[in-house]
């Protein structure tokens, strides 16, 4: 068990990367604390799986180091890193029984049979596989097979980290949440670091204590689900997390004043706002906008009922602004104005939150 540090990591699948796009991973410095539950969230092709394979040792990074505790494991093969990985499609050894599947990683390492039995029994109990131990693994359903994959990771006692590469892709929807809470529960029991890769925000936010959001081969933000929601570091995070996503509106910065379509707006990060050459935008979530008597004049375009609340689409000049209102609340017929919650409104420059010491 150890913390995992990624130092100055970069990776390219081409031999001589030149253009920016040649890098699958651009520049990463991340530290994963021992025993943490992390989610790696991002759209397809953002470099999540590449990063995962670098940590597990299936890939060697073109540049930078991977440290487990204080040891440099950058060039160690996967079986010497003490890691476990659960893949998108369940990997089981078809011809073996469930018991033999779980015992496989231990037997390969020469653990004696009485200890194997003890561990397998224990893990089977944890993963609810006990009734199936003597069945052939190929006969199980997809969720059963995923449990075997997970069990093979848990059965070893020296595992530093268990990684999940979109493990619920092939699971039936009604079993997904069940398996997800099982995972969460297992994490609390075994206290091993877990890294969960997904492009599904619900999976990421419910599983993880810390969510690492990636896009275009770089980490955009690391934070708790609340951080990501309340203070997105990048407009991408604002848009990707939350439904509907953050409203992004172009704005002009004049000294310390932020002006959107001729209307002055108060923002939370005004101390850091600078008028410069970057593309200036404000971002705020639909949850933090309300109808009011004054503010931004809009026309209501569409109202969709989402059960406990309504999503209102309004039009301000040629921009769309979405807001959420309670189910009982009335939508003004005409002459509607929007007020923004000041401490949840942020100014972004070239997509990045304007603040002191920003990462860009």
């Amino acid at each position: 068990m150890a913390k995992i540090t990624l130092q100055d990591l970069r990776h390219s699948y081409t031999d001589k990367p030149t253009a920016d796009d040649d890098w699958a991973l651009k520049q990463l410095d991340v530290e994963w604390k021992d025993g943490g539950a992390y989610a790696l969230l991002g759209p397809s092709g953002c470099g999540k799986t590449t990063l995962l394979n670098i940590i597990s040792g299936l890939l060697t990074p073109s540049h930078g180091k991977v440290l487990f505790g204080e040891d440099d494991v950058t060039h160690l093969p996967p079986d010497q890193r003490h890691i476990a990985q659960v893949f998108q499609f369940p990997v089981i050894y078809d011809t073996m029984t469930v018991y033999d599947n779980l015992a496989f990683p231990l037997r390969n390492r020469g653990v004696d049979e009485s200890r194997v039995k003890q561990r397998v029994t224990e893990i089977a109990e944890m993963t609810e596989l006990t009734p199936m131990l003597n069945r052939r693994a190929s006969g199980l359903t997809a969720d059963g097979k995923q449990k075997i994959s997970l069990g093979r990771g848990l059965v070893r006692e020296d595992v530093n980290v268990i990684m999940f590469d979109e493990p619920l892709t092939v699971i039936d929807p009604h079993l997904k949440s069940q398996l997800r809470s099982k995972l969460k529960e297992l994490h609390q029991r075994v206290n091993t670091t877990m890294i969960y890769v997904t492009h599904d925000q619900t999976e990421a936010l419910t599983f993880a204590d810390q969510v690492v959001v990636m896009n275009f081969g770089q980490v955009v933000q690391i934070g708790t689900p609340e951080d990501l929601f309340e203070r997105p570091q990048h407009t991408f995070v604002g848009n990707f997390i939350g439904s509907p996503g953050m409203n992004i509106l172009p704005c002009d910065v004049d000294g310390q004043n932020v002006v959107v379509g001729g209307v002055k707006v108060e923002v939370a990060n005004k101390g850091f706002v600078k008028g410069d050459t970057r593309k200036q935008e404000i971002g705020l979530r639909p949850e933090f906008i309300h109808f009011g008597d004054q503010g931004i004049p809009v026309s209501v375009e569409r109202v969709s009922d989402a059960g406990r609340f309504k999503i209102v689409e309004t039009r301000f000049q040629n921009h769309t602004i979405k807001l959420l209102i309670d189910d009982g609340e009335n939508v003004p017929a005409d002459n509607a104005h929007l007020t923004f919650t000041e401490d949840r409104t942020y100014v972004y420059g070239d997509g990045w939150l304007m603040e002191g010491g920003q990462a860009s």
Partner: protein, 287 residues
Amino acid sequence: MNKTINQKAWFFVLPVIALVAFNAIIPLMTVVNYSVQETFGDNTFFWAGVIWFEDILHSERFHDSLMRQLTFTFTILLIEIPLGVIIALAMPRKGFWVPVCLILMSLPLLIPWNVVGAMWNIFALPDIGMLGRMINSLGIDYNFTRQIGDAWFTLILMDVWHWTSLVVLLAYAGLVSIPDAYYQAAKIDGAGSWAIFRFIQLPKMKRVLTIAVLLRFMDSFNIYTEPFVLTGGGPGNSTTLLSIDLVKIALGQFDLGPAAAMSLIYFLVILLLSWVFYTLMMRDEEQ
């Protein structure tokens, strides 16, 4: 749920039944017809019951060629299946050499059977053939036209050369269809290369290998052209396999009744052995 029973569906099957009838059932029935009749020429036939079947089943000549056939088939299966798997494992999985290897592997399969026979016949001739001369120059007395052992050696070598490729291609197809995740998981689980072969590659190749065994079994059991061109069944009758013997009886001696009875027995042996192979190899599949 109630299933609707609709006998009209049979009409849709009719074209297939007609086709199968024309290309399999009707020709087979003429053989059945010959097998239970006796003729003295002049296109007149008499009912003979099952005497031809009894004759064939008790004939030493048939027993001998059946034994030769079984020896030949099992020998080439024992060589070609493991060899094919080994070559497939050694072939590259990606890159420039993949198409090169695949084409090289397919070449023997593209050569017409009688050309293969003729090629090997000349190749192995002890006085002018390259292989024959080479072996003799090593001090080994080799002559496949005179010595039984040499004839068998050449015959098996020819079949291995001609058909191992088929096993290679099938096994290779099975191998490349294994997702990378299996190899990655095995690496993480600390599996060695034997364990990877035993628990991942072999189980995943099982279906294609079953097909390979069945195809090689049936083809080699029916083999005619290549041994006929290479050795003509000789020296003596030492390489007279079932089909060569059958043709001798049917067209050489023109004994239509015994030949027809032998064909049917021949067919049933293949059917039975194929079933045994299939059942044995697929035995674990259910559960």
